[in-house]
């Protein structure tokens, strides 16, 4: 299945959740579905999308947070899965699109193409609700359970190594940060 298909099925279910995505193909595909003020695209510092999500989830217990991540990014911050497993914020869903490659930087195979199983790593790291999915149906089933549940969930979705044919956003990086922060502040004061 393709990451874009998963995102297309996920998008209408996001509601008012705060979404943090890693860089490259995932960010572009989410943006192309329609940017929202509740989306933050981490276009560098690979690995830290999940850490940002953890910070949001722990400091905003009344919000629901979704992290959209990739195998390459997660491999750069494997310790973050252990931190996630330790603190287990119930309001966080961590989705990892595993395409077995560093697609946005040349398409070299990543360790997951050679056998590293990120779902097993997440389970071993102490994350309580971890699933591996391979069809859009399974993906949305796991998402629904995660969204309805009351514990942190990690969903590892095996996807093809394909991405968008363009990379362009009409959104400056600091602009995204300013607008994302302001959106959250507006929600906290009831203005969102």
């Amino acid at each position: 299945m393709k990451r874009a298909e998963c995102l297309g099925a996920l998008y209408p279910e996001l509601g008012d959740r705060l979404v943090v995505t890693n860089m490259g193909a995932c960010a572009q595909e989410l943006y192309d579905l329609g940017h929202r003020e509740s989306f933050f695209y981490l276009q560098h510092a690979m690995g830290l999308a999940s850490s940002i999500g953890l910070g949001l989830a722990l400091t905003l217990p009344e919000e629901r947070v979704v992290v959209l991540d990739g195998d390459g990014s997660v491999l750069m911050n494997l310790g973050g899965l252990a931190t996630l497993g330790r603190y287990r914020p119930p309001n966080l869903t961590h989705i990892v699109f595993d395409n077995g490659s560093l697609l946005s930087t040349g398409g070299f195979p990543s360790h997951t193409a050679a056998g590293t199983d990120l779902a097993a790593v997440a389970r071993g790291a102490g994350c309580p609700r971890v699933s591996r999915v391979g069809t859009v149906y399974q993906f949305m089933e796991a998402v629904s359970e995660a969204f309805a549940g009351d514990e942190v969930a990690v969903i590892v979705a095996t996807v093809e190594a394909v991405g968008p044919d363009h990379y362009a956003m009409d959104l400056l990086l600091p602009e995204n940060a300013f607008r994302f922060r302001r959106f959250i502040a507006g929600r906290r004061t009831g203005g969102g």
Binding site: H44, A185, R188
Partner: protein
Amino acid sequence: MVVVPMTVSRDNSKAIYQGIKAAGIRFLTALPETWLVYLLQLAADDPEMTLVEVAREEEAVGIAAGAYFGGRPNALLMQNHGFLASINGVVSLAMLYRVPLVMLIAHRGHWGEPHPWHTQGGIVTEPVLRALGLPVEHARDPRAVGRQIQEAHTLAWASLSPVALLLTRDLMED
């Protein structure tokens, strides 16, 4: 119970912690190290404080950014080698997106350091911070550190920049 060398200053750790709270900070990300043990124990024992311990210091930059986006004053506690481990996060998340970070950094390997393994990190810490163009101050005096922490928070949020307060041997050891 954690056993620490008797030379780490309990009183000065308390002064630092009081400064953190006086700055309105109720969220800390940290990776423990010897000089920070009493400080982190105070945080762990305080029901008003949320302490998140990371596996690697670069995570703390991401978590702190999340706290900032959520409108929560916060600080990062780490050893200077941890800061070195977190540099790309500081550059490509905090500096790139104009996210303030209040970094309280234990400055090992500097003046008075007897352990050889700390010394390269100790020598490069300030030059690296200055190469990044970040505001840096030294905390040497327990009577001033509380004010310095509040000023670090004020500057970080006004400048939308990481700032570094180096916790020196003068302050951290008896």
